[in-house]
């Protein structure tokens, strides 16, 4: 059996985890110097740094699994949009602070429950990275939950902005729980987990938080998908153009 081919689902799976963190980190990092208050500037940057650290761990492992000599930078800087495996949710533009926190909240809640289970992965490396990331993401979830509550139950303006953001981003949440062939393969091996199983706890946390925040849980909606398969929104192209520019303009240079 060709060892490389057998690992392809694992490569895909780990890449998805890494790309989620990388793209979301990139988005959050855009806030640096533009936050609503100095303390929040520092806090957001912490989140971006945490996610970047996690991305580096995942991408490095993905490259090893692939076995073609691609390290974290080759993967981050030299793939085009079609090869990125992040969910659509994380690549959505920052918008205002409400949009950013809604995106963060939806993702953090999912990320939290995902990592909680992933710590028990049969793959030692995956379990190890998940263990480390879980501590950081627990804090991220506390933070985004706190913000949802404060802005939802704040002023009429903050309430309206929060609600609008939650409504706008709702259609990207479905993808978080969709299992495809890769997810099924990885889950059956005991390396990954059943994403459908996360829906319950996620929905419970979201409902509880939004209720406390006096916000409405968005209604049923058609869910967007495709990010995990490399079919992205238009904004990813621009994000990557900015992120990858130097490596593309000076191929082969050391930095």
């Amino acid at each position: 059996m060709n060892a490389a081919a057998a690992d392809k689902p694992l490569f895909e799976y780990v890449l998805r985890l890494g790309d989620n963190c990388l793209i979301l980190s990139q988005r959050v990092a855009e806030w640096c110097g533009h936050g609503p208050v100095l303390e929040e500037d520092i806090a957001l940057t912490n989140v971006a740094l945490d996610l970047l650290g996690q991305a580096r761990l995942w991408l490095t492992y993905a490259g090893e699994v692939e076995g073609r000599g691609r390290d974290e930078d080759r993967l981050a800087y030299l793939r085009d949009a079609g090869e990125f495996r992040n969910v659509l949710l994380v690549e959505q533009p920052n918008g205002d602070f409400g949009m950013t926190m809604a995106r963060q909240f939806y993702f953090d809640a999912w990320h939290y429950f995902l990592l909680r289970d992933l710590r028990n992965s049969r793959d030692e490396r995956v379990a190890g990275i998940a263990e480390k990331a879980f501590k950081e993401v627990s804090y991220h979830l506390q933070r985004s939950t706190d913000w949802l509550i404060r802005l939802g139950d704040g002023t009429p303006e903050s309430h309206e902005r929060m609600q609008r953001a939650l409504d706008d981003l709702w259609m990207y949440t479905g993808e978080l729980f969709q299992m495809d062939a890769v997810d099924t393969d990885i889950s059956e091996r005991g390396v990954g987990i059943d994403l459908e199983g996360l829906r319950g706890p996620w929905m419970e946390h979201v409902t509880k938080t939004l209720t406390e925040a006096t916000l409405a849980v968005p209604g049923e909606s058609w869910m967007q998908r495709g990010g995990k398969q490399g079919v992205h929104s238009e904004s990813l192209g621009y994000l990557l153009a900015e992120m990858q520019f130097l490596q593309r303009a000076y191929p082969g240079a050391q930095w």
Partner: protein, 310 residues
């Protein structure tokens, strides 16, 4: 000299810290507020020229380091605003002054960051100059300021080292990278040299500040120290400092250097730098866009307080 002022000066001379509730001359308080808040504003505005390159950092490691550095700067601004607040001015007031263009900040941040090499140059030169200024301040007379500076200095060393490391990597890289590094040095050298301010003969506040130990070395002394240490480093990098008059003087035991164009400095300080308007506009926009966020959180806190009281 009235007795309280004599006691105050004796404390300073003995190296005893002045704390927030101690008696102090009004001029001491005002000068400190001005100096500390200017320093704080510089850190905050300073996030922008570097923040510019976070999304474009050429490797993930460099991205992480730059993120951490810019975050540190925000933290330093925060420590400094905190120190200034102990003197009776609020953060809101200071921010208002900055955004209205009434407050000064280090003019070095009004220059644009045009290439990745600028990240190296800023860490190496601008932070290098800042460190020389800041270390003595750890011994300044005002307690909260001195303690804030100790915290800041601990974190600042990593900033300069990472800047130098970028320059080193570039100067050992491709011809284009080396040219990029040289170009950045060409643009950032003089602004960094000017960071220490005009010669003390021209500087209004120097003498009194020295007596009050708010300023511990003259601008010229600090500038000379910076040039001496940096000229050697430039040599090591294989780069040329854009000053044809820069030359080691064995009699003085220091580097001689060329005439500084204080005209440009004064213009940039007055707001005519190429980025002055942009930097402030960005800060104003961020502040305004954030008003509903601050207001929302404050409203929630009030509601919670009355709910708990009920």
């Amino acid at each position: 000299m009235p007795p309280e002022e004599r006691e105050f000066q004796e404390k300073i001379d003995a190296g005893i810290k002045i704390e927030p509730k101690d008696w102090m001359p009004e001029a001491y308080r005002k000068t400190l507020i001005r100096q500390i808040s200017q320093h704080a504003h510089s850190e905050i505005v300073g996030q922008l020229p570097e923040g510019n390159w976070i999304t474009r950092a050429p490797t993930l490691k460099r991205k992480a380091i730059l993120l951490a550095k810019v975050q540190d700067e925000a933290g330093h601004g925060l420590y400094l605003y905190g120190a200034a607040e102990t003197l009776g001015v609020s953060r809101e007031q200071m921010i208002e002054d900055l955004l209205a263009g009434r407050a000064k900040y280090s003019s070095v941040f009004n220059y644009p960051t045009l290439t990745w090499a600028d990240m190296g140059a800023i860490g190496w030169l601008v932070d290098g100059a800042a460190i020389i200024n800041q270390i003595p301040l750890c011994r300044c007379s005002y307690g909260p300021y001195a303690r804030g500076m100790v915290r800041i200095c601990k974190e600042e060393n990593f900033h300069q080292r990472q800047g130098f490391d970028i320059m080193l990597t570039l100067s050992r890289g491709t011809p284009e990278q080396k040219a990029m590094a040289q170009d950045a040095l060409n643009r950032w050298w003089w602004p960094s040299v000017m960071m220490h301010g005009p010669s003390d003969a021209e500087s209004k506040h120097s003498a009194q500040s020295m007596q009050w130990k708010i300023k511990l070395f003259s601008n010229d002394e600090l500038r000379q120290k910076f040039i001496d240490q940096t000229a050697l480093q430039a040599e090591y990098l294989g780069l040329t400092v854009p000053d044809p008059d820069l030359k080691w003087n064995p009699e003085r035991g220091h580097y001689d250097f060329g005439r500084i164009d204080w005209d440009e400095f004064n213009n940039v300080i007055r707001g005519n730098g190429s980025c002055n308007r942009d930097r402030l506009r960005t800060r104003v926009q961020a502040h305004q866009a954030g008003a509903w966020v601050r207001g929302g959180a404050a409203a929630y806190a009030r509601k919670q307080a009355s709910r708990e009281a009920a």
